[in-house]
Every structure is written in C-alpha cells, then in structure tokens.
Symmetry: D3
Subunit: 265 residues, 6 copies
Amino acid sequence: MSTTRPERTLREQWRNGDTTIGGWLAIPSTVLAETTARAGFDYVCVDTQHGAIEYSDAVGLIQAILLGGSTPIVRVPWNEPGVIGKMLDAGALGVIVPMVNTVAQAEAVVQAARYAPAGARSYGPTVVGMRRTDYVDWAADNIAVIPMIETGEALENLDDILAVDGIDAIYVGPADLSLSLGLAPGNNDDEPVFAQAYTAIVEACRRAGVVAGCHATGALAPRRTAAGFRMVTATTDLVAARIGLKSELDRARGGVGPDGDDAIY
Amino acid sequence: MSTTRPERTLREQWRNGDTTIGGWLAIPSTVLAETTARAGFDYVCVDTQHGAIEYSDAVGLIQAILLGGSTPIVRVPWNEPGVIGKMLDAGALGVIVPMVNTVAQAEAVVQAARYAPAGARSYGPTVVGMRRTDYVDWAADNIAVIPMIETGEALENLDDILAVDGIDAIYVGPADLSLSLGLAPGNNDDEPVFAQAYTAIVEACRRAGVVAGCHATGALAPRRTAAGFRMVTATTDLVAARIGLKSELDRARGGVGPDGDDAIY
Amino acid sequence: MSTTRPERTLREQWRNGDTTIGGWLAIPSTVLAETTARAGFDYVCVDTQHGAIEYSDAVGLIQAILLGGSTPIVRVPWNEPGVIGKMLDAGALGVIVPMVNTVAQAEAVVQAARYAPAGARSYGPTVVGMRRTDYVDWAADNIAVIPMIETGEALENLDDILAVDGIDAIYVGPADLSLSLGLAPGNNDDEPVFAQAYTAIVEACRRAGVVAGCHATGALAPRRTAAGFRMVTATTDLVAARIGLKSELDRARGGVGPDGDDAIY
Amino acid sequence: MSTTRPERTLREQWRNGDTTIGGWLAIPSTVLAETTARAGFDYVCVDTQHGAIEYSDAVGLIQAILLGGSTPIVRVPWNEPGVIGKMLDAGALGVIVPMVNTVAQAEAVVQAARYAPAGARSYGPTVVGMRRTDYVDWAADNIAVIPMIETGEALENLDDILAVDGIDAIYVGPADLSLSLGLAPGNNDDEPVFAQAYTAIVEACRRAGVVAGCHATGALAPRRTAAGFRMVTATTDLVAARIGLKSELDRARGGVGPDGDDAIY
Amino acid sequence: MSTTRPERTLREQWRNGDTTIGGWLAIPSTVLAETTARAGFDYVCVDTQHGAIEYSDAVGLIQAILLGGSTPIVRVPWNEPGVIGKMLDAGALGVIVPMVNTVAQAEAVVQAARYAPAGARSYGPTVVGMRRTDYVDWAADNIAVIPMIETGEALENLDDILAVDGIDAIYVGPADLSLSLGLAPGNNDDEPVFAQAYTAIVEACRRAGVVAGCHATGALAPRRTAAGFRMVTATTDLVAARIGLKSELDRARGGVGPDGDDAIY
Amino acid sequence: MSTTRPERTLREQWRNGDTTIGGWLAIPSTVLAETTARAGFDYVCVDTQHGAIEYSDAVGLIQAILLGGSTPIVRVPWNEPGVIGKMLDAGALGVIVPMVNTVAQAEAVVQAARYAPAGARSYGPTVVGMRRTDYVDWAADNIAVIPMIETGEALENLDDILAVDGIDAIYVGPADLSLSLGLAPGNNDDEPVFAQAYTAIVEACRRAGVVAGCHATGALAPRRTAAGFRMVTATTDLVAARIGLKSELDRARGGVGPDGDDAIY
C-alpha cells in the first residue's frame, strides 16, 4: 500500500550527496524484512555471510524490502562469482563482499558484479529483469559494488583497491578489522590503531571518490557520519529484537519483584 | 549451551504460586525463538492464530524454545481438535484456544487437549514422546489448557466456562474483548466497561481456582500482575523488533539532521 | 520497481463501475506471483483450496502481488473462521470462500471476515497492520467478502444468500456447479441448465447490488463480462505455463520431425 | 501413473543419434517441474545459476522430473566441485557448468563430475544411489558433462576444451556470448560475429565428436537443430508462464475494451 | 530409475484379493519417502495427523512415493472437507480419516472424498489431474475412502458405519481404541476387550464387504493378516530409523565397553 | 526435556581420552535430528556434502542436536571459507572438510575455521553467540577442525598435513580413499593397500597428537576403535531407516507368504 519514500538507489542517493543509514537482516523472515524496510532505513542489507540467511531466502526478502520502500542490498558469504551473480539476479541493488584484501580480489568483485565490458557478470536477470526493461544499462549506473575493508592487509592495499574501476563504496567491518589488528572484536574507538584506521579509510575514500561505509550502532552512527562515513548501518533485525525483548521484559518484571514473587498481589 | 533456569512447566509454576511472564512469537524463525527464550521469559507462545506461523514452523520453534530454556506453548488458529492435537504432539506444553464463548466450546477444548478419560485427544505423540517415556501420565499433570475469554458472550458464561473440568487458565485478549464491547481494539483501562470486565475475570478465576492470564505490554504487565493476573504476556518478537528498530534508527538519525543533511559533516 | 497501475482495491474498482479481470495462483512461488501481478491483472487470487499452496506460502505471495502492483485476494480451503482470519491478517484484500450453500453458511463467512459489530473477526492484523495505521476502518470499506455459489442448493437459496449483509460479490465455480447439476465439470454453456443458472445468478446479483464473479478462461472472459459478470478470472499461473510450454515445444519440434528424427539436419 | 516415454538418458539418446529438445526450470516448484516434464521435453534442466532455485530445491525437482518421465539435468551456479557433486548426488543425470573458458577450467569440470580414475568426484550418492545398485559404473556411461561456451576466450580455446577427455557436450549461452562479443545480450543471428561463432562451434564439435547444445526459443529451435545443434532448450517454465499469462489476459481484455471500459456490457 | 512393481492402487489390489502391507511417514523428507516406497511396501501413508507433516509437505511426498513405485495415501488431521479435498487434489490415492464414530461422521467423509453424485468433493484436481486425463471417472473406482474406527462409540455404531455407501476400508488405531476402552495406549491383544474388538471389527467388515485395516508392527503384522486384516501398516519411517540407530549404536558400542572406556584399545 | 548426558564437546572428550562414537544426518529433519541425538551418540554430524542438506537446514538441525543432548558438527560441501564460517556461526562445534590433500589446503581449513591470530575466520557469531558470552575464547579451545584424508595424495602428504597448527583430528572417507587407490568404494579391509593406509593413518596421527577419525558402520566400529580410531561414525539416519524399514517389512511379509498370497488366511 503506501510507500511515501521516493524510489532511490544507494548510488542515486550518493550522487545527490546524501548520507545513507541502513538496517540489516540476520533472520529469513519476509515479514520482519518488510517491517525493517518500513522503519525508514535508506537501505536494508540481507546478510548471507553472518546472518542465518541463504540465497533461497534472499529472493523473497528482496521483494519484501522493495515492498516496504527501502533499497535492498546483499552481503554475500564470500568473494565468489556464482553467489554474487545469483544475488544480483534476485534483485539486490548492491552487493557487499567480505574480506577483500588485495587488488586482485577487488578486481574479482567487479568482474562478478558488472556486465561486459566493465566486468564479466553472466547474463540472466530472471527475477530482477521483470522489474524494468532497461536492466543492463540501468545496472551500470545503479548497482552498488561494495568490497569490505576489514584486515590490516586491506589497509595496506587500500589506495590500490580504491583505484580499481567499478567500485562505488567500501564497507568496514569493525570486528574483523579489530581481530586483524590484535584487538577484541568490536568498535575500538579508544584504541589508536583502530581510530587511525578509520580516519585513514575515510581520507583514502575521499581522495578516490569512493563512498566510505561501515557497520555501526544507533549510538555510534552520528559519530561515524560526522567522521565522513556516508553509508552507516545502524542496527540489525536480531539486535533490535533483543533490545526490545530485554526492555519489555525488564519493564514487566519491574512490578513482579525478585524470584517471581509479587509483593503487591 | 547453558540453561540455568530449572525446567518447569507453567502448571508447575502455578502450583508453586508463581506469576509467569511470557514472550510471544509472530515470526517463524528458530533463531529468533531461541533468542526470545534466552531473554528469560517463563513461557514463549508460538502464535499460529495472528502470527505469521503455521504448524510446520511450530515443530522447530518448540525445539528452539526448549533449547533456550523456556516453556513452549501454542495459540491455535481456532477451536478445532485437529490442530490442537498436532500442536500438542509437536511438543507444546500448553495450548491457548481463541474465542471460547460457551460451555460447549470450552468442553470441546478439553476434549481435544486431554487423553481419555478426561478427554478424547488422539494418541500419537510422535515428536514429544521421544522427550519422555511417561508422556501420557505426565501430560495429565503438566499440559496447560487455556481457552481465551474475549467477548461479551464469554463474560456472561464465565463462571460456567471456568467450571468445566480440565481448564487450567484462561487468557484474555484485550483487543477482541474491546471490539466485542464496542470499544476500539486495545487495552482500554480507562473505559469502565473494560476495567470492570478485567476485574470480574480475575475474581471469577480466583473463585474457580483457575489462573487468570492476559495479553499485555511491558509497561502494563506490573498493573496486570498487581491486579491478580498470574500469566501475563509482555511482548512479541515483532513488537520488540519494531521497538529496537525505531530506537536505533532514531539514534542514528539524531546526528544526521533533517532530510539526510548532516550539519556536522 | 515501477508500478504504473494506481493502487485500487476490488471494492474501489467496483464502486467505480469497473469490470475486473483476474489472475490466479496454484503454485507457491513469489517470483511467479510477482510475474503474474506485473502481467496486468486487476486482482491475483492465491488459491489455497485447489492450488498447491497453503498459509505459510500465502504471506510471501501476497507481498509479491502487492509489489507487482495488483490486488491480492485469497481463496480459502473451506468455510472456517480460523483460516479466513489468518489470510486477512496476512494481507489478503478479499477472501473467496468455497461451497456457501445456505444463509447460515453465508453469515458465517461474514462473521469470520468482518470486525464487530458487522462480524466477529478476531483482531490481530500482525502483517497487514504495518501497511496502514487505519486498518480497522479501512478494512470495513475495502475487504471484499466473496462466497462461492457452486451448487444447486446455493442456487435455490441465492436471493437469501445475497441478502446477507456484508457480502460484496459472489464467485461462481463452473466445475462444481456442473457436477452439482449432473454435468461433467467445466463451462457447459451449451447445456440449458448451466446457461440458465449463469443468467439467474447475474440477475439476482443485479437485484441485490452484489457483484457477480466467475472462473473463466481468456477466451470465455469477454462472454462473461458481456453477460454482466464484473469479476472474471482469465487464467492461472499453471494453466498459463502449460499453454506456453506446449506452444514452445510444438514450435521447437516443428523442425525436428516425428520421433526425434530431423529430416532437415 | 503413466509414463509412456521410455527411460533414456541424454547420452543414450545422443548415442542413438537423437536430437534432444529441452525445457528449463527457473522456479522451485515440484508441481511445475512435473508439469514441464510431462509436456514432453527430452530433458528438463534445473537452473541453479540464473533460476530462482538452489540445492535444497533441486532434490525434489529432480524427483518430479523423473516422475514426469523426462531426464533431469542441472546447471550449477559456478564451476565449483562442491556444488557439482551435490547436484549429481541428488540425481542430476547431467550437469551444465557456466563460464568454462580454458582447458584448465574444463578439466576441473571433469574432475568434479567423474569418479576416479576419470576424475575425482567424491563418492556418496546418497539420493541417487537408491535408484540403482550399479550407480558407479552406470554413471560413467550416462552422466552428461556439459561445460558452457559463452565467451570470446572460450571460442579461442574451443578445440582444446573439446579435446578434454570426459566432456560429452558443450552448451552455448547466447546472451553471455553476445556480451562478450560486444553485442547486446540475446540471439544475434544477424550479427556476423555471432553467426560465425555458432557455425564455428558446431563444426568444432563435429570434429571432436562432442554434442553441440545451446539455449534457444521455440521459434529458434528448428534453426538450431538444422544447423547441427543436437541439444536445444526451447523454453523455460517462467517464459512459458509469461507467454500464457499475456495471451490469456489479452484475450480476456479483448472483450472489455480499453481502460477497463466495456463497450459491450 | 527402475520401478519393477506394476502400478496398482489399493482398491485394485483389494479387488484382486491381495493383502496389502504398508509403510508410514512421520517425517517430511522426500528422500526418506522415496526410500520408504522403494523398500517395497504396497502403500505408503503420509501421516498429517500425528506425523510432523502438513499439506505443503504432502505434495512432494506423494510425488516421491509415486516415483518410488508405491501407492501414496494420506491420513488427514481431522474429519474436515477442506483438508480431505486438498490431499486428494495433491494426488493421494486414498484418505484415512481419524475418529469416525458415527454414521453422520462417516457420511461426511464420503461427501468430502467423492465427486457428485456420490458425494460433494469440490472439483479442482490441480496436481493429480496432470497425471491422467480421465481422473473423475478413474477416481470413482480407485480412490480409497478409509475412516478410522478407534473408539468404543465407533464399535457400537460399526455396522451402520460400514453400511455407508462409498467406504472402501476402515482402519483401526490400536492406541486410541485402547484409551477409549480404558487401557493403556498400544496393542493390547492380551486384554479380552481389545481382542474381542479386533475380532468383531474383522467380522463386521467381512459381512459388509469392507476391507479391514489396522496399524501394527512388523512383528504383529502376520498375526493381523492371519486374523483377516487386509491392510496392515508394518512400520513408520521414524520407528524404522530408531530401530536402525539403536542397533547400529549398540553394535558400535559393543567394542568400546561401558562408559566410553575401550578395554581393547 | 531431560538431557542426562553431561555437555561436552568433542575436544573435551578427546582431552579426557574418550573414544567418541557418532551419528550422521543425511536428511534435513529436525525431528529425526533430535531422535538421532537422543539415541546416545557422542556427536551427530550434519552432512552438507553428500547428505540432502544445506545451510538453511543446518541452523535448525544444530538446535535439534543440542536439544537432544549430543554435540553437533558439520561436514561442509567443500574447502571454502564462506561455508565453513557460516556453519560455525550457526553453532557447529566442529567442521569436517572434504578432500584435503595438501598442506596448503589444510592451512586454508584452519584459516577459515579459527579466529585471528590462529586463522582468519570472519567474526559474526550471530546464532552461536547467544549461547555463550565468551564465544571467541571458548571457540579456540572447543571448535574441532577436522580435514578429511581420503586420497593417495593426502596419504603422501599426511605427516605434513598433520603438522599444520590448529588441526584437532582427521577423518578418513573409506569410499573416496578406495576409489583413489583403485578399489571399489567401500571398506576394503581385505585389500592390503587399504588396510595399510588405515594403519599408517592411525600411526601418523599418534605421532602428531591428532585424533584419528573415520566413517564406519555399527559392525565395523569396534574394529576401528580397537585399531586406534577415536572418532568413529557408526551410522546415518538414512542407513538406519533403511535397516529398520527392511527388517520390519521382512517380518511383516513373513506371515503373508509370497506374492501377497496369505496361506494362513
């Protein structure tokens, strides 16, 4: 029924200079996906790497995100052309690819995600093709190709990776980056090596004209956007559910007292 | 895989005088179900009436709730013996049955949910039977039979319904009760006809030795338990996710400014 | 992602005097459902009676039909309040109910499909409620309640059935009607008893101000609309696939010759 | 019930000199799969590259194709030994592997699809093994190994690829071949570079004793078989459904008139 | 792919005087279903009452049973026309209906399972219809209608139930019959009331010309067939798996010694 | 609900010197999985290589195995980091990786399965993380990394493979090993080349302090444990079901006589 937000892809928004805030799906429920989309995120990412989701779920989740008025993108499990192609055919309007540490890996992402001559994506837009007749040309301007920068090795190769033709944005995974840098997984802003990496990434992206993106939280997102990240994921369906379950249960238990003993009763 | 909460059924808890706080599932995800159970609810109800869930989902959801250390119960779509039997065979340790307005309907619930001679439940505990060898006897003492009281007609017949042998608790649906009373669907505590109905239900349950239960929210739950309800549902997976999605997005947008324009950037 | 057709429910179209042409789903594929919707049908019916589809499929199929820009309705397996409520909660904007032969059965349909005071539908629009905030009021004006007229008994009770408050349309099943009249299942326009029944149905609907609907084919549809039917189903996904598979295979075999022997080769 | 077509694998048919016409599945429906098989295609290919299908669907689709009396084959998403093995274990009697551009890639296909000593397929015919006790020996003579030739690079390496021991047929993807040759995706018979490639492929296959296959349409199939292709896919379930949906809706609208205005009514 | 057993329905076998031995499915796996069918049972019953199976599973299970060369039948959850029709449409060649205790209930079974004029089954053989073009006539001679006799009330009404036109066989559920007779659920041959009931059932069936069927075990089956039962279920997929799991684990542990301590090692 | 076996991971058991006996899943049924776990196996392996199972099934199967009181591990389809990570995130407590023939392949397994600095597993324990808060540290001590040794090439490289840091056990696939050695697939203990390979593997494992594991049967398991294998799989769900189906059908047919003719009747 009503979808008030005008249809825009991430690349359209980035061309307009927008900073985009995203939701994230770890659960294969088309109802929860539509709910997440309707919450008002600029994009909703179907996570088939660390989420409990795989390809056959993604087809319907992408439909639900579109119906909910947001932009569907997908994180693939690994840098493999088969699954990148399947997700784009299913209607993902962007693809996040984990663990891109070298120029060769970045070039492989572009090869898998772009049609010739820019790449070598196999043609067969079975699902997405029914949504527009000009898909091949439109894809060249709208499909977002987003490798992840999440290791020390990637940091070393960053400028070269960003120079690979066909990359629209990069996406930082703070937990893997932390592990790679010898820290506990998480957002380690207090650790200089982590903070410096984030600064270096934003600066390199600015120089290269590539959008900087990262995984964050609702609380962290303003800090990230202030630092120059223009693609910031604020939460996931599962994290959001945990937040809500805990707060509602805490409120409910508040009147019950310890050990289920209700003093008022 | 620690499960610190000792295993207890609702009827065990009620026999101990406990007030029980519940979670509710509208989404068919075994990951979200285990998450909800681990949040610490006394019971988690698989809602196959208004939730986007059906029997084949329920089998795995019940497994996930048990693994998460909570007590699985099911709300069936309607007062039909086939589906009541299927859910109990799948391992539901209680069954909430909607729209029980007459003594005959209440008796039908008991017939479907209890083995002879107490009822006429068909024998075939295919799934649940592997979890204990004494299931038939154990079921007589532990399966919770819970008709819903949610219409004016049910209120009129309340004492007679509560007198039907084999009913352990009743469960009030505030939205349907409100509609039936000519109010908007919701918790209409400010409306005397609604508030009086709630009071009457608790008092009738006390007289009959039947547990009073109701659908609530985290905020309302202390009021309900204070009023004498001993089975109170605080939230659902979907409501909880909406709460978390909204709060996280609001926090994220807080630093972005109106219309995606980031003044700080 | 373009949806050029303005959003309209069947009841809106009928109020405008439109004749509506429908598609029908027998296969639980959200891709095929979106394809069917995008083909341009005014409504697409998810058939959970004779289609190979059940509730858990319907949730996603309804999303796909909405995304494809058509109006989703559902045929339930039988006149049971549980499943009627589940399908409406899932977002069906109309419900076709088979084998409604008596006034009591017609009243039961209305009770299951409309909220109090018009009926007794249980409140819990878990899925559909996220699509609009005014659902209860909107539903009263937009949910189409459509019993099937498909037996001799129903024909005898037709005027009384049509007089039941809350019925928007009736839907004729030609195969069951034929069987009930002693004919082979199908569209038996050449049989006077069948043709007279169709005429009688349209006339009775006109008198009662109820829309006449029926199951047809692409070839038959113009005849039905000319006769006064304003809700006419033209084909199903499975029938359409058979038509296409046969025609394409015939064309392919055309050059191959009999028995796989290719004379041209 | 009745399966009149004698059981034959593609390799049996090719040994007999037959030209084989195929159907193609993009939708994971076992009902549609059986329907496609019963339409009379020599083979039905489960497309897990560009179809909306994955492994868990394929198991049942292969059963349905066998029940329908046709020969099930699978197109895998990419040239990976894991998925090739899984599909053969599930009962695929042939495997189409996309984007085989070099001898090394062709050898990898054979390694994944044939048991030692011809290859290195891992043993574990969990599903297919129950259908015959002599599976290992039978597979050597009946499993069809079919790399795709669909790039300029593959054309350059064609004779060497065809010389790889263990390849039974090759399959041309006209859309990817066109993209690789700088054309729009499709059957570009009017473009000399495309037409010459098709001719070269058939001739190279003849020289090498390998069957030439290609993706076509019902209308194009006679032209392809006349040119020497002996494995020609005529249509897909989804294309066929679109053909049927459009033709039936057009026929239905024929009597309704433009804009839903029915002049006859 | 060989299916050596000639295709026969239960009614064909019964007309030939055969005693039929059946398998039973409690698990929704098409691989296990085909395995069960290939084991050599005359029929395989998809149990949607006490099995962990529902309609959407049944469609594929029936295909798998047919592929495996056995006769698929279904036990529905309850005596409801909607689900009986859905299962027959999906290709069940017989339907077992639980808890038929009265003539009216037996007549309802026939109404739901047979087309007019014998009954009132709704026409729409979406799946099964593709397997034969003469389905309506063929169904009259081949669909087996099998109410369950499993209560004392049913025993009292047995002759009248057996006299209902359109019933081909009855099926005894020993567990429910035992519960109804005041015994523990099971095969209570040593209890006179149980043994007499079995004898009475066989004799009543003989008088009425109706096949007597019952649920048994491999060990009990010879006793039941000797007593005159001509439709005897020997085991289920889940029971069979438990037997095999236990025996293989016992054999494996045999060499390991108690408590995981390996004396031989 | 009772789980009497104390919770232990394979590595805990191996540290205690235990020999572990396992079950194996080829069927994606959470009911059968829980049944297998409750049968008493030390571990239950979800086979996504040769079993009819994939990732989305594995999430629920792991929950069911945990609920049943056994240790869930997964065999992945191939040595790919994406799927190894997904299975560990889903809660697999060990991972069996097929066809590890070289040191480089063994190192890749460790990289995919262990967090930095021991490896490069990507962080995101979406499912498993809710079961313990100390997952990263705990994983280092408890996740079992188990490459398969199943070719002649692997035998040649065995000592070097076993020396790769981070490998806890190896697992022998007798069928692939046999094929690779020029034998028919199976347990070829009578063939010296096979028997010598088994002896060599156990000895090499002892030298390296790595647990030797292998696929066996109930009958073979004592021989394998006696030979020094400390991780021995005794059977699979599907094999067990076949054993049970055959034995029960044989017993049932025993009293029926040949050709369905019952001499006793």
